[in-house]
Amino acid sequence: MAFDLDRAPLDAGYDDPPKRMGFFTDTSICIGCKACEVACKEWNAVPEDGLLFTGMSYDNSVGLGADTWRHVAFVEQRKPLGHQETGARDMDFRWLMASDVCKHCTHAACLDVCPTGSLFRTEYGTVVVQEDVCNGCGYCVPACPFGVIGRRETSGTAAKCTMCYDRLEVGQEPACAKTCPTDSIQFGELDELRERADRRLEQVRAAGASSARLYGHDPADGVGGTGAFFLLLDEPQVYGLPPDPVVTTADLPSMWRHAGAAALVLLAGMAVAAWRRGR
């Protein structure tokens, strides 16, 4: 079972592909307006996802799935934000908002496990579902370590953020980044965004937000770095993100070896059991 995960997405097989494109979502300037959620749905004709009052601060979209491709998390904490002064209470308080989206992983489990080739890597290095190919096996759903992709009830097929593949092809930025009122969602060439993010992190920390960190920008992490990465102001799990996700297929070679061994054991066991004399 020799295959080299680390060559993805370089083994995409495109002739002189464009630079890899990505999102840098800077949550420190997110105003939680949810324009990204709506612009995304409007462009991609994503159906309404239920009229549910959750009581989770101002978040009534709950999380990413087949019918929510951008999701703004709202976290109310009794912690300080930089040097911000928050008034009368004898306590610190901050209200974190963050727009989550498909990470378009360098090593994308959903793509790896898709048995039909419906999920594929585009020339921009993004990961996209080809709805016309998907047979709805749903394997990609448990494979995603971020809980991004889902299977749509109405169509029976998998659905998630495409980074507006069709817009990229005509040289336009994705709908969410286009609409973001404060430019919290930034779109561009991934390399450039990563540099920008490093500078930004220093700036935010210097401004007093010591808990600030980048998430998904490190090519050495478990998914080889993400095409959509974030500047967070607290631990990832606070926003509903896994702290150290690893693409499950990293272990697949070993899985195959174990499965093979088990198969041989079964074969041998059968043989022994059958050829042994006696009743």
Partner: protein, 334 residues
């Protein structure tokens, strides 16, 4: 923080844009007057993962039937080669029935069953389901041919070849399903990927043995009894080792009553088979039934333990945080 305004009325390029805004920088706050809250470990207790959209009947059933089919074919081949025609015939019929059922379950669980054949667009070594599909399409026809020739009695040579072929492909069919569920982010499945194939192989063998005992005359059922015993032993050994190695994410497995029942039934069935089952046809049939039931319970147990582990963010977050802490510690050492 002191004021740092740089107002340029000429809008010259190179000015900082609003994305450089640093909210909260100019205040004087930031000194907590209350003890900090305990670290939140999740977002409103919601799962990190989206879990599986699979129905347990279809997929757990698929795991069971696939295992039964694969192991039965191997047993059939072994029986045929060692001159136990009745056992072979029973196993072949069982195999073709089981593989049919598993195929139905697989297709039935698709969101778009009409597109089942899209599975054959590609061969993806990175996708156990793709590999499995090809295994199935290699195994299925042979198993079918083996059973058909057996029942009709025609083309014996071809039948023999198909029987052996299916017998060799069988174990792959019985164990790839382990890779299938382990190759996900579901903690209780993924973390068990080393033992899961053996657990599945064992469970498959036990079920095939059970079926052999159930269907074959005592005189020819000896291999079935031994296979069942080996299978049950392998299943239990794998389960024990898995739970011991996995740590936190083993909790849902440990908590699973179905798994316990599965192992108990397998062991009981195997022992009963080796004991009374050698003499009494009734006992043998009871043992066989127990073994089959045991395998069913084991597969459903594994399936539900997995979905439970995906529902609770703790099983996703905790191990990852420990891993991070560990790697940090190592980094600090060096």
């Amino acid at each position: 923080m002191s004021n740092q305004t740089d107002v340029r009325l000429d809008d010259a390029p190179g000015l900082r844009t609003e994305r450089e805004a640093t909210p909260g920088s100019a205040g004087r706050g930031g000194r907590s007057l209350r003890p900090p809250e305990p670290e939140a470990e999740s977002y409103y207790g919601l799962p990190v993962l989206n879990g599986t959209p699979w129905s347990d009947h279809d997929i757990a059933g698929y795991l069971f039937l696939g295992g039964l089919a694969g192991a039965s074919s191997t047993l059939a081949a072994a029986a045929e080669l060692t001159g136990r025609p009745a056992l072979a015939r029973a196993a072949k019929v069982a195999a073709v029935g089981a593989v049919g059922g598993s195929l139905y379950a697989l297709i039935h669980d698709l969101g778009k069953p009409s597109r089942f054949l899209n599975m054959l667009r590609v061969f993806k070594v990175t996708s156990p389901m793709s590999v499995g599909t090809w295994i199935l399409s290699a195994y299925g026809p042979q198993a079918g041919l083996a059973a058909a020739t057996e029942l009709t009695g025609r083309f014996p040579r071809l039948g023999r070849a198909a029987t052996v072929g299916a017998g060799l492909a069988g174990p792959a069919l019985a164990t790839y399903t382990a890779a299938l569920i382990c190759d996900t982010a579901v903690p209780a499945w993924h973390d068990g990927f080393r033992e899961m194939p053996f657990l599945f192989a064992g469970s498959a063998a036990a079920s095939a043995g059970g079926l052999g005992m159930l269907a074959a005359p005592l005189a020819q059922a000896a291999p079935a009894r031994r296979v069942a015993l080996l299978g049950a032993a392998l299943e239990c050994a794998a389960a024990v080792r898995m739970e011991r190695r996995m740590g936190l994410t083993a909790e849902p497995l440990r908590r699973s009553r179905l798994l316990k029942a599965g192992q108990a039934l397998s062991v009981a069935g195997a022992l009963l088979g080796q004991g009374l089952g050698r003499r009494s046809r009734v006992a043998a049939m009871a043992a066989g039934a127990a073994l089959l039931a045991g395998s069913v319970c084991t597969r459903f147990g594994v399936f539900h333990a997995g979905t439970a582990s995906a529902r609770d963010p703790r099983y996703t977050v905790e191990p990852q945080r420990q891993r991070l802490a560990k790697s940090r510690a190592e980094r600090d050492l060096t």
